[in-house]
């Protein structure tokens, strides 16, 4: 995936781009290889949804809302034995550089599918046979790693809605830039890098419930990337839990982050 006209993704000290000045097209370096972009999570930010969360991750801005358990329409989606978890993942038209048409794209629908398959294993679905748990993820602004951000927010919104779960689901990616495996690719790194590997984990059980990868990795690099992303999920898990604690201890001021 290496492309021409790429900026240096690592400087001479092995540090990554931290910021880009769009006017002069100059870069500031400072992020370490195993360092996440800044993440902030707030639970319970919407009025109508049964549960919700707002998340900023680098320049990603994401809202997630959960409705349910509720009646499942259309009926062909119903499972008589358990609740179904349905995820709608959608990019706002203004969230990316080139305006997108309203409504889920094919990419959005694939991400919605694998996200629902990542969330469902953590839900005690057998408690609500025939019901639907509907999760809506809206990407308000996209940088890179939107599926990880969306999934991480979605899980918080489900907990906020009181959905009985074995545990939260947490997502993070690792990738490869200039032959180094690093954590959590930014926009420039995603564009010019050599591989991206987003995963999601249920920290309570240790299960990897989402994994996608494209690019070019040796088997060892693949292992290393999994390990890095896996470990980071446990750090992000702490942020998710704190957001829920804040929500129920009232220490969050509504709209504080936004």
């Amino acid at each position: 995936m290496a492309k021409a006209d790429a900026p240096d993704l690592l400087n001479h000290e092995g540090l990554r781009i931290a910021e880009r000045d769009p006017v002069n097209d100059e870069y500031t370096y400072g992020r370490g290889k195993d360092e996440l972009r800044p993440i902030e999570i707030e639970a319970g930010v919407l009025n109508r949804a049964d549960g919700s969360a707002y998340l900023e991750w680098g320049e990603n801005k994401v809202l997630a809302a959960t409705y349910g358990p509720r009646e499942c329409h259309p009926r062909r989606d119903q499972d008589p034995a358990e609740a179904v978890v349905r995820v709608t993942y959608n990019m706002a038209p203004f969230s990316v550089s080139d305006r997108t048409r309203p409504g889920p794209s094919r990419r959005d629908r694939e991400i919605g599918k694998v996200t629902s398959e990542a969330l469902e294993p953590a839900v005690l679905t057998q408690l609500y046979p025939g019901a639907a748990i509907d999760v809506f993820i809206e990407i308000i602004e996209a940088e890179a790693g939107t599926r990880c951000a969306g999934l991480t927010a979605a899980s918080v919104s489900m907990a906020d809605a009181g959905i009985p779960m074995k545990g939260l689901v947490t997502s993070c990616a690792a990738g490869k830039i200039e032959d180094d495996v690093v954590l959590d690719l930014s926009r420039e790194e995603d564009f010019h890098g050599e591989a991206d590997l987003p995963i999601a984990v249920v920290p309570k059980t240790g299960d990897v419930v989402l994994l996608q990868m494209d690019g070019d990795l040796s088997a060892d690099e693949f292992d290393e990337a999994i390990d890095k992303a896996y470990e980071a999920c446990y750090d992000i898990h702490d942020l998710q839990k704190q957001a829920l604690v804040d929500r129920y201890q009232g220490s969050a001021t509504n709209g504080g982050n936004r």
Binding site: N47, E59, A92, P93, F94, S95, R99, E138
Partner: protein
């Protein structure tokens, strides 16, 4: 209130309150809920705004791309407005292709901006008959408690007022602000019992009451109007509402819009 249908008891309760000049959330009949506008919230957009109007919350974005002018208006750019009723925002909103209510809100918000010439289409011309700016106005509702018309219109206006034409992306020089020729403010009211109430909540919009939205420019001139929902108004009620709408628009203009940085 996750149901589209409102019970007779709820309706009667709201009517009785209105008779006494009151509302279930203790607002005055002409009183708007708290409004907040934040602009420049989305770096990927040429202009953006985040609006909270009571329990209704929208993100508005302005995106500009280079495109072809229509052959019958070679000296004009193009504006396209879309307002999404995202399922996230309310249990009543449906997925799938847009039905009547979604189409209406897009078109009414669009007319409010277009008919007042808020953004002169000629100012979007780059090269007559060859190239022009295509301006996409998107209203993205994420939380819904009524009066999407006003929240969306206000947010788009704020987004337009702070938008920067991305000249630099097409070798046309420095970014520069969009020309804003007029600043139309939409105000919406419903009739419950015999009373007119401004800035209705979702519940107030559901009690089989008629609704009227009026767009007023900074000269107090009416640029667009739309009656919708069930029931009707007596003509003198409309004329009275128009006058109150103009006053409310003026208030919103000085109290809210002035906070938007130019």
């Amino acid at each position: 209130m996750s149901d589209d249908v409102v019970s007779d008891i709820q309706r009667q309760y709201l009517v009785d309150l209105a008779d006494k000049g009151r509302r279930f959330d203790d607002r005055g009949l002409d009183e708007y809920r708290d409004v907040s506008i934040e602009t420049d919230v989305i770096n990927q957009a040429e202009g953006s705004a985040h609006v909270r109007l009571g329990g209704t919350e929208v993100y508005c974005g302005v995106k500009m791309e280079m495109g072809d002018p229509y052959s019958d208006s070679p000296n004009q750019g193009v504006i396209t407005t879309t307002a999404e009723r995202n399922q996230m925002a309310s249990p009543d909103f449906e997925g799938g292709p847009p039905r009547g209510p979604s189409v209406e809100v897009s078109r009414v918000i669009d007319r409010g901006i277009r008919e007042s010439d808020a953004v002169p289409l000629e100012s979007l011309c780059i090269e007559p008959g060859e190239k022009c700016w295509v301006v996409y106005l998107d209203v993205h509702c994420v939380d819904f408690d009524g009066n999407l018309f006003d929240a969306g219109s206000l947010g788009l206006l704020a987004a337009l007022m702070t938008a920067q034409i991305p000249n630099h992306r097409h070798d046309l020089g420095e970014p520069e602000p969009l020309e804003i020729r007029s600043q139309p403010i939409m105000t919406t009211a419903v009739k419950i019992g015999d009373e007119i109430l401004f800035d209705p909540t979702d519940l107030e919009e559901k009690v089989s009451s008629p609704r009227i939205s009026v767009s007023t420019d900074e000269h107090g001139r009416i640029r667009a109007a739309q009656k919708s929902l069930a029931g009707g108004f007596q003509p003198e009620e409309i004329q009275e509402t128009i006058r109150r709408s103009r006053r409310k628009a003026e208030e919103l203009r000085s109290n809210v819009l002035e906070t938007v940085k130019k």
